[in-house]
Subunit: 213 residues, 2 copies
DNA sequence: CGATCACTTGATAATCCTCAATCCTTGTGG
DNA sequence: CCACAAGGATTGAGGATTATCAAGTGATCG
């Protein structure tokens, strides 16, 4: 079901099944809020979720967009601190919950899972660092190109990237109007296609070049 | 010696002593380079170290400034990937090296160390996320105020923050000239004191307010 | 004590934000 | 099924912030 559990054999899988509890979430439903204490982790089976923090002006900054198969919120659970970020569904979702105790028990008894968790943390740290450097050095236009390529992977199973302009702006770290203008530029340059909310990439290589990768 | 090993008892400490090898580094000496493969981790006993990545234009972005007691480079070692960042001393340093094999062995046999490593990763991820949101939403002036407070903690054992204007700019993600102008503003507002390279904070609270914390 | 490097200042231009007005889409209730 | 309301998307104007370039000045180190 999930990359982190993908090595599981039958016995382990049934152990996992015993402790997880799945439920449906509607679009725009909150999963957890920054400041609250983690009681476990969430496995995203279906749908997309945004993970974001709020600047002191109340402006949202989207730190991550999670897709099917990802585990959400285990960073805070491991450190024992309250959540620093909030999570909310972007569409209807199917999400499993695993209680902290159960997850830590599994972690204790399973070397491979432990390695996966550490690798996962390492990988996230890596991506976050990359994004930080991007944010520090690149223009909004470059960041948009980069983000479109990134989002294209997230939405690869769908027909197109499906995000509100505001969410896109909050992901890239700019104003909604700026995003709209730049998307228009990209469209006129023949790089992307726009159908209201839905964006598709026409010229991947050129976007890569603009992103400066 | 180090926060990550601070729980060590006598026996563990001697095990640690057996595998570590210490050496001196001169100012501006490279510790490791992005792209190379990690062969172990580095414990910073004395001095400061900058960890940075390079944008495709070759411009440096300082991701972290490490001080005495920190461990450097274990992210890449755990994930097994090549370094994504480079590390270089900012002043004369005393640094211990622990080979990958030895570190992983210790990790295997020591629950507490494992928890510390995970906590450490979690904490770094947290800080990196915070910085990312700052970078996305705050002006250079706000980021400078934030960074001065951050650096004040890093340099708390010294008389003052001691960084080149360029390093400061590369940490904050802006141009050197911008930093110089803003530092001048802060000085005129009575918030900081400047003695060529050395910066000290005079009005901590006002800087906090400007940083928007 | 000269040369190199860091720092500073000014002028100019590009980028991006904010505000305000308008248009379009979508969902809802009649 | 239609009309209307509400929220999202778009456009334009204007201004603030920040980058870039060029030309100094000052500090440091062999």
């Amino acid at each position: 079901m999930n990359s982190m559990f993908s090595h599981y054999n039958c016995e382990e899988a049934s152990e996992l099944n015993a402790v997880k509890s799945c439920s449906f979430y509607k679009k725009k439903q909150s999963i957890f809020l920054a400041g609250s204490s983690p009681r476990g982790v969430y496995c995203l089976n279906e749908g997309k979720v945004k993970v974001f923090s709020l600047g002191e002006n109340g402006k949202e900054h989207i730190v991550h967009i999670a897709k099917e198969g990802e585990i959400i919120g285990f960073r805070a659970m491991l450190s024992g601190d309250p959540y620093e970020v909030s999570a909310e569904t972007l569409e209807d979702c199917n999400i499993c919950f695993i209680a902290k105790e159960d997850f830590l028990n599994m972690l204790d008894g399973n070397v491979k899972l432990r390695q996966n968790v550490m690798q996962s943390l390492s990988k996230e740290l890596n991506i976050r660092t990359k994004l930080l450097t991007n944010m520090a050095q690149k223009s909004v236009r470059e960041r948009l190109a980069f983000s479109l390529i990134f989002l294209d992977k997230v939405y690869q199973d769908e027909e197109a990237i499906n995000l509100s302009r505001e969410d896109l702006a909050n992901f890239i770290g700019t104003a909604t109007e700026t995003i709209i203008r730049l998307l228009k530029d990209f469209k006129e340059e023949g790089l992307i296609e726009i159908h209201t909310r839905k964006l598709s990439i026409l010229n991947h290589n050129e976007l890569l070049r603009i992103a400066g990768e």
